[in-house]
Structures are given as C-alpha cells and as structure tokens.
Symmetry: C2
Amino acid sequence: MAMEPTLKYIPLGGVAEIGKNMSAIEYGDQIMVIDCGLMFPDEDMLGVDIVIPDVTYLVENADKVQGIVFTHGHEDHIGALPYVLRQINLPIWGTRLTMGMVRAKLEEHGLVETTEMNIVEPGDRIRLGQFDIEFIRVSHSIPDGVGLAIHLPIGAIVHTGDFKFDQTPADGKFVDFARFAQLGQEGVLLMMSDCTNVEKPGHTPSERVVANTFEEIFAGARGKIFIATFASNINRIQQVIDVAVRFGRKVAIAGRSMARNTEIAQELGYLKVPPDTWIRLEEVKDYFPVEIVVLTTGSQGEPLSALTRMAMDEFPKVKVEPGDTVVISATPIPGNEDLVMRTVNHLFKRGAEVIYDAITPVHVSGHANRDELKLMLNLTHPKYVVPVHGEYRHVVKYAELAEEVLIPRENIFVMEVGDVLEIGPEGASITGKVASGDVLVDGIGVGDVGDVVLRDRRHLAQDGIFVIVLSIDKATGEIVAGPDVVSRGFVFMEEAEELIEEAKETVLNTVSEIEVDASTEWSAVKDDIRKAVAKLLYARTHRRPIVIPVLMEI
Amino acid sequence: MAMEPTLKYIPLGGVAEIGKNMSAIEYGDQIMVIDCGLMFPDEDMLGVDIVIPDVTYLVENADKVQGIVFTHGHEDHIGALPYVLRQINLPIWGTRLTMGMVRAKLEEHGLVETTEMNIVEPGDRIRLGQFDIEFIRVSHSIPDGVGLAIHLPIGAIVHTGDFKFDQTPADGKFVDFARFAQLGQEGVLLMMSDCTNVEKPGHTPSERVVANTFEEIFAGARGKIFIATFASNINRIQQVIDVAVRFGRKVAIAGRSMARNTEIAQELGYLKVPPDTWIRLEEVKDYFPVEIVVLTTGSQGEPLSALTRMAMDEFPKVKVEPGDTVVISATPIPGNEDLVMRTVNHLFKRGAEVIYDAITPVHVSGHANRDELKLMLNLTHPKYVVPVHGEYRHVVKYAELAEEVLIPRENIFVMEVGDVLEIGPEGASITGKVASGDVLVDGIGVGDVGDVVLRDRRHLAQDGIFVIVLSIDKATGEIVAGPDVVSRGFVFMEEAEELIEEAKETVLNTVSEIEVDASTEWSAVKDDIRKAVAKLLYARTHRRPIVIPVLMEI
C-alpha cells in the first residue's frame, strides 16, 4: 500500500507580514498557491517601487503547481501577479470583483490573452488538481472577500483570508458563519488565520458606523466636501455616494486608482450610483460648493496623490477653500503618520475644516479584533493553527490568544517566510525551508537592486558623493589634466570653493609623493587619494560622502 | 507725555511646532527670549542631524536682548543653546534641573566659562531688564518644569510652558494652581498655551498610573526586565527604580543619554537611588536574571540606540534572552511608529515578552488634554490667547477650544513663525513678520545644507548617480582616454556590464558627431552627452539617476 502523502503549508515572500502576499499548499505531487500580492517598500528601501515575493520554489516545481486562488482584491494579495505570471504561467481563480481588479491589472501589463482567468461566487466549490476548494464569504474592507476551505484526503484546511465579522455589513452580505461552524463540526485539521488586529481588544466596529458619522458631517457642512479613502474600499465609497445623493450633492472623483476602481465596481454591480450623480472634476466649478462631494485618493498622505496636491494648492482642477470640509476616512498605515499629518496641517492652512481619525471616528478596520479571532477559532476549532498576515509580534500575540481558547501550544506554529510546515498522521512540525523572500522592483528592473545598491543609496542620501577626476601620464606620473571635482548632495558647491581647492591640493600632494615607474600600482594610488580626501572632508565638515577618485591614464 | 510702548510676541523657528523651540517678547526697546531648543529633522531632510531656529532677528537686535529664560530641560527647549550662544552671547535663567542639563550641554561645547548661568526655584521672581518674570511650577514629563508670568506696565503675560495638571504627581510636587488662579483674578492680558494634546479628550492620566502597571509587570516577570523610556523622564525613571528596589532587583543603564541624565538628576537630588542599586552593564552577567532591571534608551526605535541594538542581537554587553521582559514605556513620536514596531518584532524574535503601548498602558503623556487646556484658560482667563507648541492643526483646534470657553474669536491668534503679534491699548493684531525659520545642521556645518543639497540627496537616494569621464584633445576632438563610468546607487555594476558598454557607446557616438574647431562649445557637448545617456538609462531601466559627464580637455 502506498504511503499517505503529507501536507505542507509554506508561506512565501514578502517577509514583512507572514503569509500575506503569497503562500503555497503542497500535497503529494501537487501545489496550489494562495494569493499573489506585493508590498510597498520600507523607508530604508530607497528608490524601490514595490516588493514582490521570490517565487523560486514555484518556478523550480512548475510541473506541480496547479494554479493561484485569490482571497480578495487588495494590492497585497493580487499586485504581484503580472510579475509572477512572467516567471510561471498559471491559471487563476477568484470572485467577481477580485477578478475584475485582476483583469484590469493584467490588461495594463498585456497579459490578458495568455492568462486563464476563472470567476467563482462565494459558496462555490472547485477542483484544482486534487485540491477540493470552497470559497466562503467573509467581511473585509473590500467587497467579495472570501476565506477558503480546502478538502484533502488527510483532512480539511481553513484559510480565513483577511476577515472581520461584520454583523451589519454595509452591502448586506454576511459572513458565512454557518459554513465555518459546519467545518468545525466536521473537523478542521489546519487553520491559517488573519492576525493583523490581534493587538486590539473586543470587536472591530461595523462598516455601518461610518455612515452615521458621514451623515452628521454632511448635515453640518457649508462648503464642498472632500472624502479621502482607500480606492478599493467600495463599501465605504458606496456609503459616501448614498449620503451624497440624500443631501443632493454631485460626486466627482480625483485620483487615477479611485477612478479605475469605482469604474470596475460599478460595471460589475458592486457600486450602485443613481444617474446624474457623477460629474467630472472640471465641472465642479459650475456648481455651488454645497452641491459637491469630491472622492479622492491620498488618505495616506502620499506625496503625489490628489489630496496632498490639493493640500499644497498644487491641484489646478479643484481647490480646497475656506469653508470646505475634508474627511480623511482612513487610518495612517504605520510609517505614514507623519505624511498624513503634514497633509492635514496644510489642509487647515487652506482654511478647510479637516476631520481625521484622531478627532472623529471616520474609519473602521477591515480586520477582526481579538474577540472575533477567538470566535473564528471556536467556530472552526482546528487541530493545528498558523497565524498569518501579521508582523512577527502579531503572530506571537496570536499564538498566545489561541492558547487562551485551549489550542495546545505545540499545535500553534509561528512561521517565517519559506518555512515548511509538514503535517502527517504522526503529527505536525516545521521540517525545512525553501528559497523565498523579497524581490525588489525599481522601474522595470526586477531584483537588480540588492543590498549593495541600497547601501550606496543610503550613503548617498546621508552625505552625498565627491568624485575626483584626473588624467595622468602613466609613463611619467605627471598630471596632464585635473584634478576636477564633481560633487552632489555633500555641500553647496558654489559656497564651498575653498574646501574644493583644499581637496584638489590634497590630491596633488598625494600624487606628488609617488615615484612612478613600471611597477606603480595605480589602484593603490587611487586608494591613497580616496583616504586623504575623505579625511580632509571629514575634518572640515564631519561628513563622510562617498569619495571616488577616477584616474584616466593617458 | 511719551507714548506707552506696545507689546510684541514673536514665535521664532523651528517651523514644525509654532513657538516651541524659541520665542521672543519685546517691550519698548527690550527683548526677552523664551527657550532655545532644537528639532530633529523630518524624513525628507536627508542627512541632516538637527534643526535649530534662525536667530537673525535676535542678532540684528543684539543690543535689545536681555537674556533667555527656560521653561524646562527638554531638547526641544534647550538643545539649540550652544549654537545660538555662538551667534549671540546671552545670560540664561532656568530651574535647577533644567540648568543642570543646560550646563552639561555647554560643557560639551566648551561654553561654560563664557556663559552667565542663573538658577531659580519655582515661585521665584526675577528682573530681566524691565521684564518682571515669575516662574510657576507645572507638571510635565521632566521634573522642574515651569510656566512663566511676565509683568509689564501694559499688563501680565502668562506662558504655560509644556504642562499638564497632574493631580497625583509622582514627585509630590504640585502645579501651582493657586498662582495661576490669582493671576486670572488680577487680570492676564495675553496667554501663550501649550496645545500639543488638543486632539485628546478629557484629562491626561497621572504619571502615577504607570507605577501600577510596572508593579504588575515586575510581579509577573521571570527573567531580566528591560525598560526603555525617554532619558529625560526622571520621574518615570524614579518609579522604575522604586519598583526595582521593592522587588530586590539591581538597575543597570544602557545608552549614553540615559547615563548622563540620571547622573545629573541624582547629583541634583531629583533622583533618589538607595545604595547598592546601580550596577554596571558588565556586571549583569554576575546576577540571576530575576535580579536585574536594565534602563535603556531606544524607546523610539532609533537605529543606533541600545535597545535597537539589543533587539538585533548586536549589543555585546547585555543580551535580550527568552524569558526576559522588555517594556517600551513611551509612545512613538509620529513618524517613528515603523521603527518602534520593527524593534518590537525583533525583540519578540529574541524570545522576550514585549510590553508596548498598543497592548498595555505603560506610558502617559506629559501634555494637557482638552479639559486641562480649558481649565488653564478658565483659571487665567486671558484677554488674548496664542496657542503654541503645536503643529498647524493643533493650533487651529486650540483656537476652536478657546472659543468654547468664550474667548472671542478675534482675540485668539493663530500665528506662524516670524509673525509679530502687537498689543497696545487699542487692541491686538499681527502687524508684521521678522526673518526666522529653520537652520539645518549637518555634521559641523550650520546652515550649509540648503534646498539644492537636499534635492540632490533625494535624487541620489532615489536613483543614484552615473558619472561619465573622458579626456578629449581639445584641438582635434579626439578622445584620448575613456569614456569611463563611475556609478553608485543606480544598478549593481558587476551585473550591468552590458548597460555600461551601451552607455559608453552612446557617449562615443555623441562625441563623434561633433565637428571640432575653435568655436566648439564644450558645455554644449557635455549637455548632449548627458541627455543621450540619461535617455538610454531611462529606456533600459525606467530610472533617472543623476547623470554627470566630466570632460577633461587636454
């Protein structure tokens, strides 16, 4: 009799939040992939545009991989798809809105023709190789989010996706509580659970509470109303439109991603907009201020976003003016607080009333808080648990929470990217590691910006660069031309003539000490010049620019 | 009869928080200065170490300036003093602990001998020219903080300093409520009020609540306890020491500023430490883990701080190990959240239990919340009000708050740096602007990093630099040596040979198209080379490094 294959769960990159962007389930000789998202770079990844998962493991096992299943349409779950499809072409599955957003992305990258796209409804059950996969509706900050149940001979796996238990969802579509409970009754071998909000007590408020706040704001507003939120939060946008219609205001859109997402959502029926509600930004000036709502991107204070440009008075199509109200209907993502508050300061300078999270509840999270996380565990009571979608501290805190609902500690797995959790009849353990991690994308370069380039960028950012160029007669050691100095980001050159002269003298002195003959090692000469100049510059400024001597031998 | 002089209030730099680092009061031909602090640079001030106020106005009116009065010893109120004293030597006044910290700073800069330092007690009243100045005790996150009352023929001015109303101060030293009330009875012409926490409802909790949390943490800890807090929060440090002594733990210190501040505070009697409590970091290993507390810097996740290095396992003297407890007794300053959470993640990876603000209340603010701000207004009921020590949004929100307690809107002044508020018998208004703002300090350069250098640093950080060097015979146009390429922060050079070869070819092609004669404009040639190479690099990478051609004419 053939041995029963083991089950493997492998979180792949990005490394910041475990298993968020991508993970793999392997059973026997088949692999299925969950999600294919990107991260935005950390502050110290200078110049990097996006971060995508390293899919070496999938490419090396291309014959095993059956396809990719999406939980929802956020960038951190779908955004890396065009990059990954270029490395390994796979069929993909997702709900209608998710696939609408995926399709738009593939269109941009010219990948629609070559990709097999499949649309499912929450509640559907599909077969992907031997993976028998159910899509189970959950609530999240984008419509059409699902968790997964994956049935295999060894047992059932539940993956929650990003979720919350919203008891009064804005779109009237409820979490499929019953199915999760039923799965719990039938027996769940392994659950991967969202743990993003494990630091937050109780329950996340319902999306509906935001509508009440909007209602109050609209009732009190005397001028235009600007509302900045995530472009993918279609339910939030629907609530804005509903209130706008009730108060007789037209709605204009600022920001490319907001325009694109609302278009997709409206086309697919996820956004219901009465006729004569939309107007173009250019038409705003034809209305009285009390007749206008502007839906805009920029809720994270992104420097080039519509809202930030309005705050700086650099957005010609529509102005934020005294008497206007600006609502920032989002919480700053950690690291963005400063940018958001800078935007808020500037909006106040424009004379607007600004309503932001620190003052008024104009945002709710899309993730389950502690009591919801416990409820999910108690509904499904899985044998083994892996917290996913969190940073390391969240994962550790979730492990503690799972213990509180009596999951044995040894059945909870705190994993890192590439770790292989293997489950067989004998039990579960982390048995190995596969190649994965972050791949940096800068411009059209994928993976060509690595540690060396980043280290140089950090150094350049800190103290700039100082290049010394001279032409030397290699026979005599005589300097034929130069030294010339090129410097950027170090000191303001026009005011540093004296220092530059000193640097040139230092170069001349260093070179004059060399006895030139056939054995002269020019690389050593360059090194001497570099050290002498760096020493001078540090003494004069206490800065350490990158110093590069260029010797042209003639 | 001579006309009564008007009173002027002028907030000077830094610009981020109005009137926080420095402000001036002018009456007739005399000026007094309040505080002399620094700011830490914004994220986009790359490479800048600190930001100090532009004191041009004081230097230009040096004969009028009587001296500087400090409200408390935080860096943002005293830190720019050495730089300012080098521009204008002034006598200084402050309470004992404040002056202890000022003295340490002046010692570092070799300025003790040349500076007239005066120590006052809360409750004291001094004469500075015609300014009759009272020091009034307030509570804050550093001991010995004071507000000021300044009596002039035209009326009394109250400056709150940074304050909160702590009803159970950890050091038993209460806000001088009575004196503020009495001043209100006598009549206050103008009040400058701290508005930092105007976004926060109710009252700031007392410093004492932290002691209760510490008590619980110590009772439950099985290993070493690390506590990270602001090095100047002497009352917090005292509470740590008290609990440590009660639980029979020794206390070691990590981090230079923590060592320096505790030494000053202990010397001056602000920190009471029983004998045999301190041990050196090197001695930690001689004790059982349950006998140890380490007080450390790094509560803001600063990359080079002791705590961050411990988190990364790069701090040889003492290790964070499984079973240890780390308490981050501080709230991230906006912009630092990401750094702090990164440190927390790494501490969890070391196996420590980490207690931070998101989970447990281990920190309270040093600033008054809304109800306390209203109480201060109602105690002093000033005629004119200027919110200070906040960003623009705080200042605007405070103006709204002041209206709630019936200060007429036209008597509340939202000011920006350099604005001159002038008050005479006829009323008050902003009548002008003086030169002020931020001066950037990088290394030992004060003010030599300006917009051009910062713009270059941002550009370098984003896409790096690409320098092309060639020697040209200026008579013939022949290339004698080169082109050579030097690049940093653009692509990893060793893997970009092809691109570099292409760039060199582009240079050769560009030069070969030139007809050289006496009229050849080499600067135009350089420009052609720059454009051609930049175009190539963008086409190949979608990046825009700084491209610099260097032509050596031989």
